[in-house]
């Protein structure tokens, strides 16, 4: 492993999606590089299927989802 | 000084900070005076806009942040400003708009007329709103009323229109301004200045909730009642023993006065009733007058607009005749005198 790859060890990150703000536009899902966001079958109060994080530790906290989210519904945490 | 320049000088002395204009005869001297004198004053702005529409919206912007702001134009230009005036009225923003009327409709003539009375007093823009409308009839009054306009606008947070005409604007008369220009132009209390030290505010009327807008209308109309009670002004001339009273305003009143003096010399008992605030229209004093005067002649330089307010005020308490010359034709005192004397004899007023 070159030096660069080793420094890319697991950068832990996570996101918090406000399920009530989400309007199910699925943009975060289509742009997430790790594909760790899915659309829930359940509906929020407004009747939208909301997005949620599949918590398998893959999220790197890159914030792309928050960047594209029109509803400012996603908060991003990172180590 | 000519009327147009007198308005400009009076506005500067009233603490005007921003003037936005656009060329149109017969009020260009006003715009040019502002270019010469306002632009150079510290903190003040003279700007010739790309259109009358832009000019009124610039006034809206300047008034938002508390500056005394003004625009001037003539009939066709004033038509372009109507939407802006409606927004000013809706957002309770003071402003002064000067209309030096010219013959209409259409491009019209560049000579003086009074054909915008309805537009001014009923409001040419959309929605239930009013603007205070002042009708000066001399260069001195142009100056006094400009200053009064700014004070009224700020006091009631309402656009005020000065309804002059081409003759008033071009004619020269001595004028005393009674006020010196302030060194620093005033800024209105409570203007929008960026949310420093307070929550952000919004100036708007758009709403998806009709009852919210209804409340705005009700509150505006409560203010209009107050204005009507406090600010209605009018003027009379030899009406004490008059049997025939001419009702007119502005330059037409000067013409009528000339005729009245001539006829009085011949022993006819004629007088003049001159509304000064065209809105609010002085109806009660006219009703008062109709207790002993039964014959009224409404004389206007249009096809008959103020006559409707006169008829509303009198409500049948007296006979109302009309004499009008539209299109920018300027009647002479003799002409009006002949109409009055013929009416005087026809109605059997000769004792």
């Amino acid at each position: 492993m070159t030096d660069k790859q080793s420094s890319l060890k697991r950068v832990k990150g996570t996101i918090v999606i406000s399920s009530e703000s989400c309007k199910g536009c699925e943009l975060c899902i289509s742009f997430c590089p790790k594909g760790v966001i899915k659309l829930s079958d359940r509906l929020n109060a407004a009747g939208y299927q909301f997005a949620y994080l599949v918590d398998n530790g893959e999220c790197t906290g890159c914030a792309v989802c928050a960047l594209v989210c029109p509803e400012v519904a996603i908060e991003v945490y990172r180590d | 000084m000519d009327g147009n320049s007198a308005i400009a000088e009076a506005a500067i002395r009233a603490g005007l900070r921003c003037y936005f204009g656009y060329p149109i005869t017969p009020q260009n001297e006003l715009t040019e005076y502002m270019a010469l004198h306002l632009g150079r004053r510290k903190g003040c702005t003279f700007l010739q806009a790309e259109s009358e529409v832009a000019a009124i919206n610039m006034v809206y912007g300047a008034s938002l942040v508390g500056a005394r702001a003004m625009t001037s134009s003539s009939s066709p230009g004033i038509s372009l400003k109507q939407e802006g005036i409606s927004y000013l009225a809706a957002c309770e923003l003071p402003a002064v708009i000067v209309n030096m009327q010219r013959g209409g409709p259409g491009l019209g003539s560049i000579s003086a007329a009074q054909s915008d009375y309805f537009q001014a007093t009923r409001g040419g823009g959309h929605g239930d709103y009013r603007t205070i409308v002042l009708g000066p009839c001399s260069v001195q009054e142009l100056a006094d009323m400009t200053m009064r306009a700014f004070d009224l606008a700020d006091k009631y947070k309402i656009p005020v229109m000065i309804l002059g005409d081409g003759v008033l604007g071009q004619m020269k008369e001595p004028v005393d301004f009674k006020r010196e220009a302030p060194d620093v132009t005033p800024t209105r209390e409570g203007a929008l200045m960026g949310a420093r030290g307070r929550a952000s505010r919004v100036v708007k009327t758009f709403t998806s909730n009709p009852s919210e807008l209804e409340e705005i209308n009700w509150s505006l109309f409560r203010r209009y009642q107050l204005i009507k009670k406090n600010e209605t002004t009018w003027d009379t001339f030899m009406t004490d023993d008059a049997r025939l009273v001419v009702v007119t305003y502005g330059i037409a009143a000067r013409i009528a006065k000339g005729a009245i003096k001539n006829l009085r010399a011949e022993g006819l008992k004629v007088g003049l009733y001159r509304p000064v605030t065209l809105w609010p229209f002085p109806d009660e004093p006219l009703r008062e007058l109709s207790k002993n005067v039964k014959q009224f002649l409404v004389f206007e330089m249009n096809m008959g607009q103020m006559i409707e307010d006169v008829q509303l005020a009198l409500a049948g308490q007296g006979e109302v005749s009309f004499y009008g010359r539209p299109g920018g034709v300027i009647p002479t005192p003799d002409e009006v005198g002949r109409v009055m004397s013929r009416l005087y004899y026809q109605k059997g007023l000769r004792s």
């Binding site: 309007k23 943009l27 792309v64 991003v76 | 700007l47 919206n57 912007g61 942040v65 500056a67 927004y87």
Partner: protein, 251 residues
């Protein structure tokens, strides 16, 4: 773990009324992020136009004042001339800026007014239900061009950035697109540069933002973003069209 991304301070907590995937929402957030970072919140006045974004005053936590349709540039001129120390930005749609307000926009730019214009170009009149706008693409279906815009009848889409750039009063114009994370980052830099242009009194600044309108384009949000990136950029090429600070083209 540290919180590294959250709602900008100057963006009110109110939920957006915008449709799912709408570009306005993203543009609002980015402008507010810039207002936060440049600490402009207490000396800024924003001017929303009639249009979908007329409700911007429910979201921007700065002083806001409504303007008549198309007159934002004139209102901003009035404000800036009366109070030069206030930071003014107009937030206008394509119908507002390139349709009814073309004259006000061109002349404000030509006078070099020190104002910043956020120009949302989504090629339709959104609020009123998706009619043709001055920037509607040829062949594009809207409620008033049901068979697709035909240049023989309705003419061509209007390129405002290219039109305003040559004016001497213009200091900075860039066209960006809400079509990808990179596009949004680029937009934020452009908006920041535009406000900086105003702060430095260099003249007129505008950011033209190609923006998705899923509802009126009858697409899913993801499709509409892709359409912005692939189709709109053909007719409205991205890039810096004027920058008096760095006259060389492209950044």
């Amino acid at each position: 773990m540290k919180l590294i991304y959250s709602r900008p301070k100057s963006l009110k907590k109110a939920a957006f009324h915008y449709c799912p995937g709408c570009g306005h929402s993203v543009a609002h957030r980015v402008v507010c992020e810039v207002i936060d970072e440049m600490e402009l919140q207490d000396k800024t006045i924003g001017i929303p136009p009639p249009g979908c974004s007329v409700f911007a005053y429910n979201y921007f936590d700065v002083d806001m004042a409504e303007s008549a349709h198309g007159r934002g540039a004139a209102v901003a001129t009035g404000i800036k001339r009366a109070c030069p120390q206030i930071i003014v930005f107009t937030y206008q749609g394509d119908g507002d800026l390139a349709g009814i307000g073309t004259a006000e926009t061109i002349h404000a730019a030509n006078r070099g007014e020190n104002i910043t214009t956020i120009f949302i170009n989504n090629a339709v009149y959104g609020m009123t239900g998706g009619q043709m706008a001055p920037t509607t693409l040829c062949g594009m279906k809207t409620t008033t061009t049901p068979y697709g815009r035909d240049h023989v009848i309705e003419g061509y889409p209007l390129r405002m950035s290219e039109m305003l750039a040559p004016l001497d009063g213009v200091a900075y114009i860039e066209r960006v697109a809400i079509s990808s994370p990179a596009g949004i980052r680029r937009m934020k830099k452009a908006v920041a540069k535009a406000f900086q242009t105003q702060i430095d009194n260099r003249g007129f600044s505008m950011v033209e933002i190609l923006s998705p309108c899923p509802t009126n384009w009858k697409m899913t949000p993801a499709q509409s973003w892709k359409w912005v990136g692939e189709e709109m950029t053909q007719v409205f090429p991205l890039g810096v069209y004027k920058d008096v600070m760095e006259p060389k083209h492209a950044d």
